[in-house]
Point group: D3
Chain length 289, copies 6
């Protein structure tokens, strides 16, 4: 169950409202790197957590923090929209060039919300909950969370660079700090689980003798010149300590697939259905000089 | 530029076609944990790679491998659909219970493709390219890639458990092995970059003195009982070696936000616009015995 | 800012887990009538609320309650998935008919979450935040909220009828009661604002003399037999007390629209661009005996 | 069955074409407050109407009117695109600043349609039919319809304010008037059904003794300071005449949920599966000084 | 402007309601091959038609017919849902196997609409208006329309095969006939425009000397064995009479792309930004024995 | 299986980077007329191809070419983003008007990718794989492919007109040429199958005597003035040589549909459920003078 106090986790000030920056901030609300995504992701991971309980508590707790981040950013969007032009005429009056500001806005900020935030990204694309990863596998979830916070911090850093408003930079400096910590905390869980070596390959509960081991530590080359891009991934011990990296030229181990011809009553063309037409052996390829 | 040979990377056999398993396999094609996603993700990361070049090559090379995985799975879907009932009548004839098989199918496998695969997930939801992460930050991208392969391998393992068809299990044992390696290879890049300690916080190019350092290594508690879920993330050195974890009760550092009242011509109700109505000081809360 | 206590607002018990009912319950989580939608809707309305402040508080407060409803339902989904078949083999063993249960499930409950809830509807379609209405107009928002609770209660009632599990019925009886109240509370705001007569037409801040008044209280008939479906909407005083309902046959007041021909360099076909071809006066219609 | 006469319901004139206003108008075509939505909503409600027949007729009749509104707006979009710059070069020539106009356009108006409307909103997001509400409950549908017309009229009013083109304002004055009427007509149905008191709670066919009556008229407070936002919704008779509003502090009636640990073969990590690790009783919380 | 008469274009009868067939029929309503798509496509093409006028009239006229097809199919869905089980208990009572019918249904037919149609496809995915093609190019639009009717007729044929209900087969025989005609009529426009030879390449208004003519009639081979799949497309005169087909091995005409390194303040990792790290010349590939 | 050589199929040069043109180019990557769509469409058609084999090979071969087109366009996007303003401040410095460039950009090019391409269209809407047509009917697929290339070439031509950068025009001249050929090649398959006359109606495997032949070659008029838009489609032999076109006034062959009233326990309002209320015979229409 949840509670609120109606206050902001951190102060949100805007000295010089900028409606295009309001649009940019939306990426941090409803973008794939944004706060709605992490809020839902941590909560759904927590709610579906089957054990151990300590991670459930930790996930729901941090998911609860993230709701407040959406609140901060929504406030920041609204404040950046104060004084925004509501018409072409005002836009010309303010900027001299019709459309310079209004054309760069999320027009729904005028037309749909009356100068408030939306659960959309910076291009006005609504948040889509398919981005919520809650896999039932603790290690996979932790990686998904670090990823979310890594792309989230890159986003916050870019927003920081996009503005010189002191209030906005102050707010972003807080969110950046929180992203720093959140990257740490999910990796700390992996450390608790024994570190990368222990958790790999994810899921580590599948008996590895049932996988095609010959290919478990081979980096496949798919270049027609048979050169293989080399690096740590082509030599040395594998990171789980169970194998040895090697480069391998990928060769087709299967043949050309051959599906049965379509059923006569299946909605194909007659020419596809007739056995005579199928798999015509005559010259399906030709040489080119 | 790309080339093909029309053959499969690994043999795809189905001994006992199962049209519900065909639907399940779709998750590995068009699901968020599936192959279209990683194919696009690695290719877009490679195509947008700004440096160093070796990672570009490595990304595009593996993205090229993934196209062939979609090919294998599409073939597997088609083979599992051989002999599927096209009508209620056939379904009854085969199973005795009308709808037992047909009702569990992706009906588009009959109606839209004539027994072929679709770029959809196991519920028939089309792949949506918003899932492609190519952040321009190498470390963030590598984490996104490990995540994709971790959830991808969990998916493949669950598909393996869902079937007892020897052909399908053989194919999945190959895909599971490749996921094992792909988890490794993206983490190997992080090792090349100096390991987690060096790459954190992501992006590591942002001057950390500009973030609100007071909060960079604090795990915030949001429980009303002021208890903080404890673990590695509340004590010890931070994973980047730059700080020390600590638990901290989250307190609202900002006040209650106050937006300006709506403009009279902005489409709000009169009662919102009138100054008298706004921010009514009279008892907005009441005590409850 | 938000807080939690890790407990459920109301007990969630499942006596006889049913994985198809787990799929049905998803509609109450991620469907358009579901809890993610109202949670976001009330919070975004509150966060963007420009005045009066009392409604902001009330909205955020109830939005906070809704987070806990998602928590309850996610728990209910997970509990209904206990013991679900993970494979075709288990399904046959349990039900005698392969696919009878597994085919009716959201397969992502097995493949993607390991028996946990997703932010999706009952067909596995992810929640899409375009459903969040926060119009900046208080009366419009209240109506959107009553609508959400009316369709939400209809959904809960139908879920109640779909199961005979005592635990599930108990949980739903609570959610139904809350929907009863939530319908009331949004309408109570409209009463506070003076009732429907006063708030209509929404927005009531637009000078009504600027609309085409001739048509403001006319019910237009579009039937070719010139009959107009009659009812309260075709006679009597209008509900805002400002007009009188009347039936009116809709007649085209505008002519046939005529757009300029395409530019020669605009990507149309030559035949469209050439003046000769455009608007060919020769017999564009013919009589039919 | 449907018929047309190829004429516009109301004249559509544009004196000074404005391609950014063309983009804004799209919200009234394909936005959530737009005409495609109401057209489909009224038609699907009518087509699925089970009784009484008079509402079916009324719904389909008004749905038919709405098709003509999309036609008017599509014409308005096309007319606002006349003379739009097709290239960066033209844009500079017209406005002196490259991108001032073109950058503010829906580029698909140039690239995809050759200066015609799209079924998209003002940000170019395609209409998504999940917005169509046809609940099978007459009262819920009427509320959904009033909501659509209330947000639709707010949108039309904002578009009216955004332009000073006399032709566009004339067209919008008509659409605003129709929205005035359409708000009325759906509420008139509720009056016919006995008014709000009679229709509440929706659906009113569910035996209210089966809901958890203790909570049916209580406004729950979720603020940590135990203050409850007060108003009409916390005192007086409920709007259905069946109860009495009261404020109530929300307390968790359920405990902490506990799910079963994951199955060993379910794709979780080993650490989650092992009973030893699950629900570790050791210090999952710590006090903070 | 549009009109209706409340009657069906063709009789819709269902002798033996089948709720799974109701789900299948949804593909013909909201699927990519369905009637909402063609209705919108023909209307938007007509509304945006810039000339000649006769095609505008013809498009809007047929678009108007399609609205009635959605009406027929929505009626068919509702009739197939008569008597559908609303609960697990009823499902068992009817079929002996819990979930056999209910699990195969679109559960929104119970939960969201009270046994009415939705604007969704057979998997419950809502119609998405991005499928509406109105290109501003008459020939391209005609091809899009034939495609829609070809896939639409394949769908209708498959639905016909899926059922043995005489009423449903009768209705489908009508829709199949209309699809036959609609395929014809769009191709008839192309014949009017001079036939394929004259309209190709689309758009035919672009001066063909500005395209890279060397490659305009070459079928590129991308197989690593340098074999080119041969057929009519590799020999003989091109279909527009302006060239000669030839097979050609695709060779990379461009080199390896090299993007500038990321800006130091652009959110990349330090290692990407530092010139030393960029484009590391040391062994990016390795030979494989 | 697939291979790459890391090189571009054709050179990609940008002389004067333009970040708004970068946004425009996205339509050719992730738009419905773009390269991701054709790549997937040809590959899925090939992978699902049931016969004859020559078309499978041809489809996969050309699908492989298209991957390289995405690569070219992604490179073009990245090159057009070189030097783009990352902040409002830079934007003013470069253009004098804040927002003139930045406001016209896809802001995700800054915020999400660090100046790289995304799998989105020109409005930032992610590619959605529902656009991939692979119908299992060879003729329908070929038409879908010509359509894709026709709209694709119209798009490329419009992009060509939008820019005067010599490098971009050179690249586009190549893509336009390839679209010319690709239109040809799919039509060449239809010629191989016997031409339009032979392949129509699609699917031609359905026994035409089972369709309602009376309506198979009639162009239906839906205008209230009973005029029928005339053309090739209303007279002469049908294009499949099996019938004769004729105009026909569409008359309702079915009556008014009548659905059963809702079940009492189905979530409708009481007034709908009660037999007395249903289908009220009293004056559902009224005359209008």
């Amino acid at each position: 169950m949840f509670y609120t106090d109606g206050k902001l986790q951190y102060p949100v000030r805007v000295e010089k409202p900028n409606p295009i920056f309001a649009r940019a901030l939306q990426q941090a609300i409803g973008g794939v790197e944004g706060e709605i995504r992490v809020m839902m992701q941590y909560l759904f991971q927590g709610w579906g957590s089957r054990s151990p309980k300590k991670y459930r508590d930790m996930l729901i707790n941090t998911g609860t923090e993230e709701i407040g981040h959406i609140e901060m950013l929504s406030t920041a969007v609204a404040l950046n929209l104060e004084g925004a032009p509501l018409s072409m005429q005002e836009d010309v009056a303010q900027d001299g060039v019709a459309g310079a500001v209004l054309g760069g806005m999320n027009l729904r900020h005028i037309l749909s919300t009356g100068l408030g935030a939306t659960p959309e990204n910076c291009n006005g694309v609504p948040f889509n909950a398919s981005h919520v990863y809650a896999s039932g596998n603790l290690a996979a979830d932790m990686l998904a969370n670090v990823t979310a916070e890594a792309t989230g911090r890159a986003l916050a850093v870019r927003l920081y660079g996009m503005t010189d408003d002191p209030g906005m930079r102050d707010m972003l400096s807080f969110l950046i700090a929180r992203d720093t910590m959140h990257q740490q905390q999910w990796l700390a869980v992996i450390e608790e689980l024994g570190g990368m070596e222990k958790v790999l390959p994810i899921p580590n509960s599948f008996p590895q003798e049932q996988e095609a081991n010959r290919f478990s530590y081979a980096y496949f080359g798919h270049r027609i010149d048979k050169q293989v891009p080399a690096g740590r991934w082509t030599e040395g011990a594998s990171l789980d300590g169970k194998g040895k990296f090697e480069p391998m030229i990928s060769e087709p181990l299967g043949g050309e697939p051959m599906l049965a011809p379509p059923r006569p009553d299946g909605g194909a063309q007659l020419e596809q259905v007739s056995p005579a037409a199928a798999n015509d052996p005559s010259g399906s390829t030709s040489s080119v000089a």
